[in-house]
Symmetry: none
């Protein structure tokens, strides 16, 4: 009920973040419409009223939550890209594995995808944002990698348009599988990732002459 001052001050500053975290869990668990603000409040350890001190409506809370959790998704992709060295094939391999970690294994990435699919129609602005700030840049990076490989003669020169999307598509498949089946998916994930990378590479690489 009453807490020492330092603690309290610290809490105050972190409240919004705590609420957003709780909102993520709550909305991920039941979906936007079925989630009660009271659920969020309980998870955050506050009361309903407190949420309204920081977020004007349930919609805004949801939007802010999605934004805050999307924010980091792309953060270190660039860094990773810089760190992975070697031939294009190798860099692409590394980047795909990074994607699996980011968007599949990491719950955050997955659930954001669920929000887009489940509630995107009610939040078109959010979808547009997500596409602009996350999907497009990501596609750009992979495109860069592939183009580089093509330029270097590593990859086939006659790759059809949209190949890039096809290359990353299997990562999304695994995300969806996890979204649907939870943490016990009916897929051998390691074997799947290996198969994906193997197949993609075989498909991309220029035939050894």
């Amino acid at each position: 009920m009453f807490k020492c001052d330092g603690f309290r001050r610290r809490r105050k500053a972190e409240r919004p973040a705590e609420i957003l975290e709780a909102a993520f869990d709550a909305f991920a668990a039941r979906g936007y419409a079925a989630t009660r603000l009271e659920d969020v409040a309980a998870r955050a350890g506050v009361t309903k009223g407190t949420i309204y001190l920081y977020f004007s409506t349930k919609e805004k809370l949801f939007e802010e939550m999605v934004r805050s959790h999307s924010a980091g998704l792309l953060a270190d992709a660039d860094a990773i890209l810089g760190r992975i060295e070697g031939a294009s094939a190798n860099r692409l391999r590394g980047f795909l594995r990074f994607l699996y970690g980011r968007c599949v294994t990491d719950r955050r990435g997955r659930e954001i995808l669920r929000f887009m699919i489940a509630d995107g129609k009610s939040f078109p602005h959010l979808v547009a944002e997500h596409y602009r700030d996350f999907v497009l840049p990501l596609l750009g990076m992979v495109s860069g990698l592939v183009d580089q490989g093509v330029a270097a003669g590593e990859f086939r020169a006659d790759l059809p348009r949209e190949t890039v999307r096809v290359v990353i598509a299997p990562t999304l498949f695994l995300s969806v599988i996890r979204l649907i089946f939870g943490d016990a998916p009916p897929v051998d994930e390691e074997a799947y990732v290996d198969a994906h990378i193997e197949l993609a590479m075989t498909g991309l690489l220029a035939a050894p002459t």
Copy 2:
């Protein structure tokens, strides 16, 4: 308001189907939780009470709707499989195109996927059913095609496990894209399908020796 002769009899027999159809549209549009039975009723051209003559609860209506719309999904896959002739590569190509038509272009297939992702947690039984009755059989068909190709020496013999899932993954990607972006997806779908099939084939085919 005014009913002509025979109208009533026809209606009685077709009501459930009409309601299920309306339910599909309504639930697809707003998700399970956000859809009001009144929406469904209005779309079906009946009143709320009428729905309860055929479905005992909103949950049951949803379940029946998903079932009735899943039902046909697999029906002609088998037929198609029998109709496509030629080499394994060709048969697989044909089957993948069939999948695109069935699960991506056709709204039914897509929206079922949305229900699984958005509301599967609330209907675990439905998810299990869908996996058993739709996903597994489908995977089996593709597996058969691939195995046949391998046996015939058309496809590489050293294909990693889970390759089959990787091969069909891109179809699901396009489904998801449509689910999120509607009927104006930021993807050139024809090019995408071509790229997918091209890439998959290159990856699968045994290197010409």
Copy 3:
């Protein structure tokens, strides 16, 4: 579905009575407000619509039912009165036992009492009727018996006013007990009836001088 003509004709004539009987059971089981016309219909072996052929509303059905079931209650009381012979004390004894049979043991009498208590406020006319057609005549009969006994010197001459009501009160007590506890009441009914008659007689009889 289709019945031989004679049967059908017979049924038609008896329908209203059958429905009233079903209504009695249904209303007695759950009370007026909680009983659905569908319950009544099911018990009567007809459909809801049929009820409306004979009774214009649920209220009217209830009223008719109460009336029809009250009707017989008093019928043979007079006859009984005429049949019981002997001294006034003996006649009163006999009449009280008759009352126990009529209003307590017989489900009809009991449930009518329940309707009066539970739903009388919604059917004041019914209450008035019941009082006029059943309670008052009954009280009159008992009064007659007691007066006769007093006149004959059998009963005390200084009986207070309202003694008659006190004398029959214990029969109603047993009715209520049955209404509340069903057919396994926490009372030894035979002993109770004996005690009642014994006590009443002791209280009424003139002290032997």
Copy 4:
């Protein structure tokens, strides 16, 4: 609409009691099934939603209401018993008058009886509770009084079993009369009570030798 200082605090503490009071009035007026929560809310001066802050369902509200109103019924019976002095006959007289006040004149006692009769079937647990916590103890008290009188030689030694129930039965009769006919019962209540006590005493007392 506008709230003065401290108003709120007081309200919070008293709300449940206020609601229970309103519920008593509402349920007594129309019966459990026919009473709308809105009626209760209006009587309590709150809105429907507020009721659910304190009671999870209509059923629970009803049960709590019956319990809270049964609670006091037995409280001072014991005290009364201690206070009344004199011979057993006198003590019994006093106790019967107390019963009339408590269970007949006092609306609380009466309406609880109505709930038992009208809705007991839907709340069997409540009936059992009421019997255990109210009826049995009360019977015990009267039994004690009578036994005492017998032991003292005041009352007849050969009283039949169940006499006790017969002795208090007429109080219940008056309760029922009031339940059915409201506050203008077709009985001269004072005369009735006198007649009851007179008759009971005459029946119980040992013949003066």
